[in-house]
């Protein structure tokens, strides 16, 4: 059965999502939304990993699971990063009452 789908289809979706996330990081002013866009970039990269893992088949034609193991670690790290990141953002919000990055300029000389 030919599905007409190739590895490049998946890589293209991943590239587009990565670029969207990057654009979001650059335009948005709300730290929480910026942080979400960063998670979007990470997920986009994960799609590349899964796609390659499916197409780099091993000896018996099964997917190469090493790629998916790395993804396992990435998801764990992302969860830890979000927890720590949100704790820092909440602490800053309590101290400053803002989540707007343009307000974070008190250090500029």
């Amino acid at each position: 059965m030919d599905t007409g789908l190739t590895l490049n289809h998946f890589l293209a979706v991943s590239g587009i999502l990565f670029a969207i996330g990057l654009a979001g990081v650059l335009i948005r002013r709300n730290i929480i939304v910026i942080f979400m866009c960063l998670e979007l970039m990470l997920s986009a990269a994960n799609l590349t990993l899964v796609a390659f893992s499916r197409f780099n088949t091993g000896a018996n034609g099964a997917p190469d699971y090493h790629g998916q193991v790395l993804l396992f670690f990435i998801i764990t790290v992302a969860a830890a990063e979000v927890a720590v990141g949100l704790a820092i953002i909440v602490a800053l919000f309590r101290a400053r009452e803002t989540t707007d990055v343009t307000q974070i300029a008190s250090m500029k000389n």
Binding site: L5, T6, A23, I27, M36, I75, A78
Partner: protein, 168 residues
């Protein structure tokens, strides 16, 4: 199959655009969940069932709920005034557009990428990815698992330290 791919890819991308364009952080968070569901479906199309499930459980479930919780806790309102600055928009368009052009060029020259997606056959279809990944994690990858353990410990300690009760 092909038809489903386009639906879910569109879901992931539209969700992504929704995160960037929505003024209200809550809407952004929901758009993000849509995007993650699309991605999870793509993973399952790639025969990565465990990872697809994890994507929904951990990303769409735990991480996004945490985001929503914090947005509600801090009571963040929609952004007011002009949404995007001229310079930052121009910069973002240039950087993201450049990134897209580079990806397009790389994919055009990437012959290995022409490989077609064919259903798994024989022994490959028999192996379940849960057992394969589980076995790799606790045999070959035991060392990174230990380091991840330390990372989680430090993250826990860090979150506790940063969010102790505040002076009033």
């Amino acid at each position: 199959m092909t038809f489903l791919f386009y639906i879910f890819a569109a879901l992931a991308i539209v969700g992504g655009i929704g995160v960037v364009l929505n003024r209200n952080p809550v809407s952004s968070a929901f758009a993000m969940i849509v995007s993650f569901l699309g991605l999870a479906a793509l993973y399952i199309q790639l025969d990565a069932y465990l990872v697809g499930t994890l994507q929904i459980l951990v990303y769409a479930g735990a991480i996004m709920v945490l985001f929503l919780f914090i947005i509600m806790l801090l009571d963040i309102k929609s952004e007011e005034g002009r949404q995007f600055g001229v310079f930052s928009t121009a910069g973002a368009v240039v950087v993201a557009g450049g990134m897209l052009l580079i990806v397009a060029k790389v994919l055009k020259n990437f012959e290995a990428g022409e490989k077609a997606l064919t259903p798994l056959k024989g022994a490959a279809a028999e192996t379940t990815d849960v057992s394969a990944i589980g076995e790799l994690l606790f045999t070959t990858y035991w060392f990174p698992v230990q380091v991840i353990g330390m990372l989680l410990l430090v993250a826990t300690v860090g979150v506790v330290v940063l969010s102790k009760r505040e002076l009033r």
